[in-house]
Amino acid sequence: MITDVLLFIIFFVLLLLMAWPLGKYMAKVYSGERTMLDTIFLPIERTLYRLTGIDAAQEMDWRQYAGGLLIFNIVGLAAVMVIQELQPILPWNPEGMASVPWDLAFNTAASFMTNTNWQAYSGETTMSYFTQMTALTVQNFFSAATGMAAAVALVRGLVRKNTKHIGNFWSDMVRSIIWILLPLSIVVSMVFVQQGVIQNLSPYMTVDTLEGGRQTIAMGPAASQEAIKLLGTNGGGYFNANSAHPFENPTPFTNLVQALSIFLIPSAMVFMFGNMVKDRRQGYAIMAAMLLLFSVSLGGLYASELYGNPIAEHMGVSEPANMEGKDMRFGINGSALFAAVTTAASCGAVNTMHDSLTPLGGMITMLQMMLGEVVIGGVGAGLYGMMMFVLLTVFVVGLMVGRSPEYLGKKIEAKEMKMAIIAILIPAVTVLFGSAVSVTADAGLAGINNVGPHGLSEILYAFASGAGNNGSAFAGLSANTLYYNLMTAAAMLIGRFGVIIPVLVIAGSLAKKRVSSPGPGTFPTTGPLFVLLLAGIVVMVGALTFLPALSLGPIIEHLLMLQGVTF
């Protein structure tokens, strides 16, 4: 127990120690200031633009920025679909994987393009090495870079004044990949390989086991995909069991590195924000609100898993009875930490089968996604998502004191508030609507693995994960059906672009405004009061929206579990 808490504390300390300097570096990268690595990366960047004819110096207004972002994502979606269909005739397919059925291919393409990485397929039985590398690994980079670009554009909207320009999408996206994601991925993937993550192009291997049986061992370039899967908060596992698979996450140490990798860039973006607005305390305040919410989640999840399953204990399993769906090497601490991190950060990698978590533990993972993926959140997505709640907070405060709300000297007016509310409500409505349709449709109910209240949880989780662009699952749900492939793909697309577009509208609108200097009536957005208000508003919006649904799923399941009821 004490060592478990020690692990959590060390995690926080290491995270802040790494995210702080990275945030400073990222602020330089996006502002075009000199960095140490320019000598290597600048020539690559210049070559890219020369070969493509893209003008990355040209400033864009929000419409042009959104246009570039959408074109890039749509073309990317098409490419992922085409590669999956053509994988039998493409190279690096030693296991002879067939074309992926169209609905599954579409679901996978939408999933990886939106940074969700929901996986209705099982990696080792569906995708060739070529597909894993050139379609899935690539979108891990692209979708992460897309989110980072959108967040940077929003920050520019806050910083700039009297202009309609919010930067250049191509420049922000390319710099995200070349300056940030790629170098970090190379370092992290080598750490993984050293610890035992595989990285080869060999065919699957069949061995005679010690007892005289046979075991076929899946192979492939896992480490390179693993690194960006976590750093980009993508979460799509190379293998079906994701980060529970010993070839993806072989040791307790890699488990810690994985959890840190997930939080690293989204946390650094908050510090980057502080640097770019030239007031680091603004970043610290947002970070504090995020970490406050996260600490509560982590504590609750860990306590619930430590408590375990009393039904199993009554049957003669020693306490705590909680190892279903967990691997030994991570322990309860490493499993709870990972589950809390991956759902807070819209990553969606799992080292634990969330379907088998205790009801309240499972509820916390779900709730973090339902809050809008703003507790740290995805790369970029966490920052711009939280900014929507920041606007809502200063608006509510403005109403309370009877003063027109402002943030960082910018007046927050009807247009920004409308867009912020749209960005907050779209994912929420998608979750509830998708779940409601699915529990009334035969095609929706057909996928359930666990009956009783847990069945509702499986469906709720699927849509929370899709709309929140998380990608983890209560994986008992048979999600690879025409119905769920199309429904979850729709949820992912709406949950992604239904937020990004309003965010860019706000960015454009804020950039046009003038900056007024703070007066005596200005509400300070750096103090503990603001931190508590922000965290409170996030919880309140989430709780009001989802409490009824959660009562019918995990909460009632918890009460029934205490009485020993099974379904």
């Binding site: 060592t3 690559i44 890219l48 070969l51 493509t52 074109i71 039985t125 590398m133 050139t134 379609a135 980079f141 191509w170 990949i177 190379i186 080598m190 390989v193 610890q195 595989i198 990285q199 080869n200 061995v207 005679d208 010690l210 007892e211 049986g213 075991q215 076929t216 061992i217 480490a223 390179s224 995909q225 698979h245 070839f247 072989p250 040791t251 307790p252 140490f253 399953n309 039904i311 199993a312 049957m315 003669g316 399993v317 009875a321 909680n322 190892m323 279903e324 769906g325 691997d327 030994m328 601490n333 379907d355 088998s356 009801p359 499972g362 666990n450 847990h454 949880s457 399941e557 099974t566």
Partner: protein, 194 residues
């Protein structure tokens, strides 16, 4: 204008795909194969120079002469290393209750465990990956009597073998104490002079 822009985007997409989807994974593969070739190729273990599995992946052990691992949901037989999976059964699932009941009963029979003695949860509950190579030390100690009588080795010797195979928490605070079942069984074979 629009058309020209799409061509530019396509070019950029292809170039970035080459960088992130081909150059990056192949460069990492090259470096991994050079620096850490053993790990990059699956940390294989050999018996008489023939690969017999991976030290990171659990194997099926069902006969009485070997230490048994955790229940596995990977593949029909369990421990399918080309089909990793967990059970995905929730805490109030009847299927889970039934599985636990039969696992507990089987262990109580095989290892002659009294009804009053609780069974460690890792030993009856399915792992996340279905390929968990480890069990808790408690689950290994539970099997001493069976292994000793099947192998004709003293119980104390078996106990010492288990204790010497405990992997403690990494750096003192990461994970949990555990025992690699494949490594333990290979050591058991060596001890038995097989």
């Amino acid at each position: 204008m629009m058309w020209k822009q799409i061509i530019s985007v396509l070019r950029l997409l292809i170039l970035l795909t080459v960088i992130t989807g081909i150059v990056y994974p192949l460069a990492v593969t090259g470096a991994a194969q050079t620096l850490f070739s053993e790990q990059a190729n699956g940390s294989l273990v050999y018996i008489h120079d023939k690969p017999a599995g991976s030290s990171l992946l659990g194997q099926n052990f069902t006969t009485a002469v070997y230490f048994h691992g955790r229940p596995s949901s990977a593949g029909a037989e369990g421990y399918d290393a080309a089909g990793s999976a967990g059970s995905n059964l929730g805490p109030t699932s009847k299927k889970l209750e039934d599985a636990l009941k039969s696992n507990i009963e089987k262990i109580r029979n095989e290892d002659q465990i009294a009804e009053s003695f609780p069974i460690p949860s890792d030993f009856v509950m399915a792992s996340a990956s279905g390929l968990d190579p480890d069990i808790s030390p408690e689950s290994a100690y539970l099997q001493i009597q069976r292994i000793a009588s099947e192998r004709g080795i003293g119980e104390n010797e078996i106990r010492e073998l288990i204790t010497s195979h405990i992997q403690s928490r990494q750096f003192g605070f990461l994970g949990t104490d555990r025992i690699n079942v494949l490594a333990l069984n290979m050591a058991l074979d060596r001890l038995a002079g097989k």
